[in-house]
Amino acid sequence: MTSTEGYKPESGLAAEIEVEAYHRLFPLQYYERHLAESVRPDSRALGRARDTTIALGPVTSADGSALVKIGDTTVLAAIKLEVMTPSIDSPDVGSVAVDFQMPPICSPVVRPGRPAEVAPVIAKQLSDVIMSSGMINLQELSLISGKAAWMAYLDIYCLNADGSLFDAALLSATAAFSHLQIPLVSLSDDGKLITVSEELKDKAAVEPVNKENRKLTIAVAPFSLTCIVHGKYILADPTSEEESVMDTHVTVVLDSKERLVSLYKAGGAVLLHTSVVKDCIVLAKQRMEELSEILRESLSAMEVD
């Protein structure tokens, strides 16, 4: 095996060393050689995202659920609704509690005693985006003003972490809310709200409280795209390996009305100039159109069943 210490891997050595060894020893140069040909190691174009699939309703015990795969990144979202008393200063709104967890199954760096640092940050960012984008009208989660409202517990589990976790999590949350079926409730004799199961709904002695309002209206749906900026290249939808090699990540969240819900860039070796910001937003716009089409198709497939 030829010695590689202190050797700049330009011409000669690249011919002698195996591709896989070059990949492990000089990951940044390996990527840069691909970028110079405007391609990535998985033969994607620089601006193209990985294949995305959405499966609605995999968790039958939850009121709404979705399983999203972006390439190898797999994320499962489930919503459970519980009746609670709303607070005094906002008596006719429900609330949403978002939790994002990365169990050890998702990545070798996550161990039971060493939780992922990025999990609570993604949970908070998801919560902010869901609330500020106006995706859900919290008043629709109200049952009886001042007395009862729905509390939606949105739990998102990452099953396989291979880059673009926030994108997959946001898409799964949007899909789960679109799939959500609010259970029927009726007032029992002692003044409590009880859920009426589907089979008994016609035989129930008491009239259900929320017969008309079974699905949430998703006014605007936010979609996100994470890009990596390296030198003058912009890579859309990075894998976890690309994310670890190149450290400047930009996440753009656009809603279906093309408003900017979030542009998140924290540190990184590359400074972002206005032209790069504009290019990232253009890529995010294309991705938003792709994703809203995929979501629409899976929702209509659900309705056919």
């Binding site: 760096v109 060493r114 640092e117 990025v118 609570p120 940050v121 949970a123 908070k124 960012q125 919560s127 902010d128 500020s132 984008s133 106006g134 030198g231 003058k232 809603d255 093309e258 408003r259 900017l260 819900v261 979030s262 542009l263 998140y264 860039k265 924290a266 540190g267 990184g268 070796a269 400074l271 972002l272 100039h273 206005t274 032209s275 910001v277 937003i281």
Partner: protein, 258 residues
Amino acid sequence: MFEMVELITSSTLHIRNNVRADGRTLNQLRPLTCSRNLLNRAHGSARWSQGDTTVLAAVFGPKAGTKKGENPEKASIEVIWKPKTGQIGRREKEYEMILRQTLQSICLLTVHPNTTTSIIVQVIGDDGALLSCAINASCVALVDAGIPLKHLAVSICCGLTVGGHVILDPTVLEEQKLKAVLHLVFPNPPLSIHHKTQSLLKDEPIEHGIITSVMRGVMSVPDYEHCLDRGRIACTKISEFVRRNLQSSAREGLAKAT
């Protein structure tokens, strides 16, 4: 002649003739104060305040060893955020991550490999624009500790009102009524006689590049670009303030030593 009773509705920001509730114009910042070397046990410390928002930052480091999982060929930065009241939750973890990634990009990590530098941020007062205040305080604390940096960083908080105006450095009351709040961090590059263009794009100067951008709320893309422009202009002013402040305290330190 009847009195004009001004009705301040609870959901809108009261801006008349481009003057805000506390008398500032749209682009006016609150008074900035910065002091260094306050704590004698810490290697570096700084206190930065913008109006009533005050943050104290302390730097300890470089200490030997890196945490498990960190690259030992580079120095690593660790941030601990202490809120004024309450338990540490997701918000504090998010601030820690943003601050850590921002400061990592301005430090020269290869000068002291296999070391850890800890930055502890203590919130003393929160009246809006907290993250920007913390970033400014941390940067001055790093300078006070003598940690090698590529360049300095300055941060500004912008907000977009419901009426479409861009305001700078909002207070807590203003933040609650804004459509969107945006924290931006720009570099404060060294002034030199040689005009070396270090940025890749020859027509855009280095101080226009964004180090960090964190947004909450919704705004249109042109509004975002508008905020960037206003933010850059404000940051040049803050950069001058930081330089003046650091140079004068450096001169004082030299006078005391001799």
